[in-house]
Amino acid sequence: MHHETTVAPSMEHDITDGGPDMVQFVDGDGNRLPTCEANEPYAQIVEDMTSEDARSMYRDLVLVRRMDAEGHALQRQGELGLWPSLLGQEAAQVGAGRALRPQDYAFPGYREHGVAWCRGVDPVNLLGMFRGVNHGGWDSNQNNFHLYTIVIGNQMLHATGYAMGMQRDGVVGTGNPDRDAAVMAFTGDGGTAQGDYNEALVFASVANAPLVFFIQNNQWAISEPNYKQFRIPPYQRARGFGFPGVRVDGNDVLAVYAVAKAAMDAARTGQGPTLIEAFTYRLGAHTTSDDPTKYRSAAEVDIWREKDPIKRMRGFMETKGHADPTFFTELEEEADELAARIRRECQQMPDPEPVTMFDKVYVDQHPVIDAEREQFAAYQASFVQEGGN
């Protein structure tokens, strides 16, 4: 039996070109692009950056990439159960992460290792959940960096509520830049389809919450390209929710930083939310369980390899004379040391004591948990009595 079906026309578009609205400051060879309509509002922020700023940002890019590569390798060697690589998205994450101040708060998905780095979370702590020893090995209030959230988009609402709390605490628009605070919430292009994401935009808009939605459009939601996810790109949809959206070249760390800083400044001073769409690319697999060769072409990946954020920033620094060769050599050594430490400490990460499985389900005592903990402890102890271990 034959059914006539009407399917949506293919909306395939060039996923390698962010279009004329995209904010960009450095071209693929590291040349500073002239000021244009798209980047003009942010040009001064880039102009104000020093050589030291450039070096420190570049350092972040390199160390984050190395940390990520180590996570990937550790998974392949059986030390981790899973690893979601950020390869290719370093500039998006470092640019965004560096725009946050200590009093700001970040709500990540599960790929934001670069943002975690900028918040001061020890990379080793990111491995715990992927090794299966915990669900998040850092105190989110210590770094103002929330735990990773696995269910896509859930965290966008938590970020919105947290920002509403900041409003009620009177830390928005006080005129004191050391006091004013805002939130940044992260998800990917796939996350923009979720109900929670869309509800978060509604709530944030209505509340005028001090919040920046940071969408890393890495072009692929596992195997689904952008055109299977939306007809209108995220930055354009923001307007429909009642606040500005900006598309930035997610592989240009200077551009991301400038756009993120401007948006966070606006949020902190009480001007409400902004949505940033960082146009970037996931060079690797979705996670170590994924096989991207099944759904995308090597040619496409090659085009994006040419847009590599680290290569680009290095070109810019060499063009501008922001660093000498020693800097790059020393940085490679630092990256090697970081990788070695991550590996060592990952392998040394102990399995948790089995009985701690019952800890911290509730704040207050809970008779069911308490009884099961006792049963479990007695059961474990019975093996010891029988001469086991």
Binding site: G136, G165, D359, K360, Y362, V363
Partner: protein
């Protein structure tokens, strides 16, 4: 002694007011909770007195209400969320079971979510679909949540305050068909513990285990049974997670017969857990199998069926007779 006669709805309203006066971090959120005072008027007058920042009229989005409450709780607030009707909680189900229940656990204890999710539940008011459901088993099944149900004005007044004071998230069920029933509330008496069951009516021949809207029905059944010479004990569980096992087992051992009564469908409902627990712990004291009276295993039917769907006096008494006949 300050005793007032009030409805269950007023008990909740007064309890919310007291909690907001006592702690400036307590905020209310939900659809229509502001000027309207909620569709059942539980929050009536609170926005006028505490302002729009503390009584927040939210967009119509349940996941959004619960999800943003999580963020507010992380920031140090104690949100009390109103879900307008039981059947509207499902859009928020993911936030509740994936996030609310697990945040403390997955943060290794670093984060607390002291939030209350208020849910008017149950049928018997002739409502359209999605307005009469009893979904407590979903949440009682989820570790990390506490689930309670009030049944009378005094408990409403005290339990809502206790739930708000809890550092754990609490799903708070309100029996909507009992909202307008009145009783004396002693505002000074020390309250019963939030997780303690209560023997509403002592008896010796059989125990009715129940909660929420069925407490009154069970008391009526006990009164009717008494005229036939049967002494029924009615236990209001009050807490569905954690269950007050001691009170339940003490009563079961005393009477030797247990009938569980609730509105929710019996298949895998609270009654299944209670029956299993009682037979596990009180087996040698029992004179009869634990029996259940509940809603049938149907979607909640159109309201012209509900008098047949819901347990009523006759069905409770019929099951009591079956138990006594063993």
């Amino acid at each position: 002694m300050s005793t007032q006669r009030m409805t269950l709805a007023k008990g909740l309203n007064s309890g919310l007011r007291k909690a907001m006066e006592d702690d400036p971090k307590v905020i209310l959120m939900g659809e229509d909770v502001g000027k309207l005072g909620g569709v059942f008027r539980i929050t009536e007058g609170l926005q006028k007195d505490f302002g729009e920042d503390r009584v927040i009229d939210t967009p119509l989005a349940e996941a959004g209400i619960v999800g943003t409450a999580i963020g507010l709780a992380m920031r140090g607030y104690r949100p009390v969320v109103e879900i307008q009707f039981d059947g509207f909680i499902y859009p928020a189900f993911d936030q509740i079971v994936s996030q609310v229940s697990k945040m403390h656990y997955r943060s290794l204890g670093a984060l607390k979510l002291p939030m209350v999710i208020r849910v008017p539940f149950g049928g018997g008011i002739g409502a359209v679909e999605h307005h009469s459901e009893s979904n407590e088993a979903y949440f009682a099944h989820t570790a990390g949540l506490r689930v309670v149900a009030c049944s009378d004005p005094a408990d409403a007044y005290w339990m809502i305050q206790q739930a708000i004071a809890s550092d754990d998230p609490v799903i708070f069920y309100e029996p909507k068909r009992r909202y307008h029933e009145r009783a004396e509330v002693d505002l000074d008496a020390p309250p019963v513990g939030l997780y303690d069951a209560r023997v509403v009516r002592p008896g010796t021949d059989l125990t009715l285990l129940t909660y929420g809207p069925m407490v009154k029905t069970c008391v009526q059944a006990a009164e009717a049974a008494a005229t036939e010479g049967h002494s029924l004990e009615v236990v209001d569980l009050r807490a569905l997670s954690p269950l007050d096992r001691k009170t339940i087992f003490d009563s079961a051992k005393k009477t030797g017969r247990v009938v569980v009564v609730h509105e929710a469908s019996t298949f895998l409902g609270m009654g299944a857990e209670l029956a299993a627990l009682v037979q596990q712990e009180c087996f040698y004291h029992l004179e009869a199998p634990v029996l259940r009276v509940g809603g049938y295993n149907l979607p909640y039917p159109p309201s012209r069926f509900e008098e047949h769907f819901l347990p009523d006096l006759d069905r409770v008494l019929d099951t009591v007779d079956r138990s006594l006949a063993f």
